[in-house]
Symmetry: C2
Subunit: 455 residues, 2 copies
């Protein structure tokens, strides 16, 4: 590192009036929906502030949109709007392509075409990266370009940067995140208003927190995409989307919410990635967490992620998980990183997936059956007293120790027995559920919710 | 940005076995106390993980310590330990200097000497940077070197990076932080255990959360140093340490804590930086915040910072605020950033104080008397009923509107009247306190605590 003694950041020729004289970063924007329009709005509103931070003018020069006339009206006369996204993705006058189309179909082709044409790419498309990331990141490496994706996880929270850089000196032991705002809104409404799942979902839809077709969110798939990216970046491991154990929240009832509160807990849909001897756990499922834990206070549509580093200890990162400008906040930050790379310094870029490609650690994903945690069982029955002994017998036979066994507090609506076990494997807990379910006087399916202490 | 089509991150010659073949980053460590020893430990324990992320071997080659024998025993035979910190700071075989000495005396000389010798500097010394930062950052600019200071604020939380980079596309409207762990521990203990200030301080000292001389923490000076740095980075403004309004927590009593709870609030020592028309507010003082706000849940020695960006909305960042390895987490992250700069790319460095030096905005710090918030007054008296009318009269005369006026709930220990006003200037609130204090039947000083809604 030889010593150069000249100013680190020379002022532009025009001096303090920085509007002229700074080089441009020319952006091609694919899609002008919520995220695309939000990005355009933030880049324009904060144009000068961004120039003050980067020394570059960021200019959206090209937009691809299906409805050209509408997009042209929105983007204004200085932007060239085309219906042909491929043409924008490969346009010689574009330095960086922002993909705001979504999905894993044409978006993949356009991203690959942009990389092959020498563009850096910024995207918030978690489905694309979680499912097709091996193609995308390999192409980026081959072409010496960067694919940045801060907006793909917990949009307003700079969690990708925190894992890759700010906490990069740590060995990350585990992380647990509330990373689907729709599910969190529904669970919060169920708890605070005593709503059924269906009523809470309807409320979320009415308020714009859930899509008309909510399947992707409530069945955990969206959280699984995000967890795949978080785990890769935290552990320096490949994208293991297909191996994430995924459960959603659609089977939860108001009674489950009441039981959790009776045990001093709240139910959250968590994405958990945890190092263990021999591999990593990757799982998305509802979990009870202590009501006084900081993550339990992340309510409504907010996202929150706890990262446990070996040196840092726990850090918790909270913020909006969706929204046009909230996603734009991340996209613009990625553009600023790219602006700082300049033309000749891509070799110094932060590795896209956390570690340098040759250093990827091929950590196996551990079988879900081996995962250990506490379990809460809700056993529907009209005769809880009579079931006490047989249930304890089943638990004992399956090797489960019991911390709490008590009638369900919401007995009027959901009579039954409530059990809180000590730590046990998923395998043992499943066996206990099956055995107890086959007992006489059990009047419906046994509900099991995992209990995480987050320590 | 011309297109180069070759791998972004070529593997080292040795292939997957990366131990040989990677270039070194040679570190000179000034001080081997808690922070210095923590940094050495983390760099060694996570040596391979850091190499996987940066492509560099980080090696502490030199240590400066007063007790050379002790330091040599701790650092081991591969490290050259010297008593002469200046010699380490300027040593030709050192690339980066980590200053872990503390204070604003010799540390300043050594940092300046290191920069003049062409070293980058990493420091967690908030006092040095808040008070002498104009000298330090100017020298760094002049010599084309970087001074990195993630560890100077809320050590384990990558808040400097989040403000400068991850949220860098935002116009930051305001931020509010619990940035002194000692004070937060004391306030939490007062609330949860009903302790007096003195008893809570004694507990903090017994548990190692407060120094033997706690003045610097409990009087707000430490938080002021951190707020100075946060505001500079968030707003792109100069370091305005001397202009921060600073109050500590030493005057708070158990009765204040009880009153806050009765009003649905908790007391926190906050550092607040807020844009206003015409300038910024910079202030450190105790404040009541709503008990169900996420920041109110940041308890014990934890730190938490809320950042309000125009695009991101609110984000909250929590974690440890002190500790050797927790600080090392930040210092190593800074070293990783520097490792990625390489020798020839310092021009692309993220500006140390958020914006490029020529773009610094010389925002004036607004007078404290103009700050507007709600106010809580506790008026000691044995005849609250008789004081009601005169107090309301005083409030009215000073232009203050009243939301709540009620006897102090902890009347046995601290009989009095409790008042919660609507938003009013500091000037009006001070006048009200003075006027009420002069009333007959007021049996002690009127206590005023500002109330912040954090919206």
């Amino acid at each position: 590192m030889p010593h150069r003694s000249f100013p680190l950041h020379p002022a532009p020729a025009a001096g303090l009036s920085f509007t002229p004289g700074l080089p441009e970063l020319r952006i091609g924007l694919l899609g002008l929906g919520t995220v695309g329009a939000g990005t355009l709005a933030v880049l324009r509103r904060n144009h000068h502030a961004i120039a003050r931070r980067t020394g570059r003018h960021m200019v959206v020069t090209h937009v691809a949109a299906r409805n050209v006339a509408r997009a042209q009206a929105l983007a204004g006369p200085d932007v060239q709007v085309l219906a042909d996204a491929h043409a924008v993705a490969t346009h010689p006058d574009v330095d960086v392509v922002v993909e705001a189309v979504g999905g894993t179909g044409p978006a993949l082709d356009w991203v690959l075409a942009a990389l092959a044409s020498g563009k850096h790419v910024v995207t918030a498309n978690k489905a694309l990266l979680a499912e097709k990331g091996h193609l995308v990141f390999e192409a980026a490496e081959r072409h010496g370009r960067v694919v940045a994706f801060e907006g793909a996880v917990a949009v307003s929270i700079p969690i990708i940067k925190s894992l890759r850089e700010g906490l990069g000196g740590n060995r990350i032991e585990w992380l647990a995140g509330i990373i689907n705002g729709t599910s969190n809104f529904i669970l919060s409404a169920m708890r605070t208003q005593g709503l059924s799942f269906d009523a809470a979902l309807a409320q979320a839809q009415a308020l714009g927190y859930a899509e008309a077709d909510p399947a992707f969110d409530i069945h955990g798939h969206d959280a699984t995409h995000k967890l795949t990216l978080l785990a890769a970046v935290a552990f320096g491991m490949p994208l293991r989307h297909a191996q994430v154990h995924t459960e959603g929240i659609a089977a939860l009832t108001a009674a489950d919410s009441v039981c959790a509160q009776a045990l001093g807990h709240r139910i959250k849909l968590l994405g958990i990635a945890r190092r263990q001897p021999g591999g990593v756990e990757l799982r998305v499922h509802p979990a009870m967490i202590p009501a006084d834990h900081l993550l339990a206070q992340v309510e409504g549509s907010l996202n929150g992620i706890l990262v446990q580093g070996d040196a840092s200890g726990p850090t918790v990162h909270c913020g909006a998980g969706a929204g046009g400008e909230q996603t734009a906040s991340a996209i613009v930050a990625d553009l600023m990183d790219i602006a700082r790379l300049g033309g000749h310094t891509a070799l110094q870029a932060v590795p896209m997936l956390g570690v340098l490609p040759w250093a990827t650690e091929h950590l196996p994903v551990l079988p879900m059956a081996d995962v250990v945690c506490r379990h809460c069982l809700r056993i529907p029955t009209n005769t809880p007293g009579a079931l006490l002994a047989p249930v304890l017998g089943c638990l004992h036979d399956c090797g489960l120790q019991t911390d709490v066994i008590t009638p369900v507090p919401d007995a009027a609506n959901a009579p039954g027995l409530l059990v809180l076990t000590r730590s046990a494997t998923e395998r043992a807990a499943r066996q206990a559920v099956a055995t107890i379910g086959a007992l006489g006087n059990v009047s419906g399916p046994v509900v099991r919710i995992r209990v995480e202490s987050l320590t």
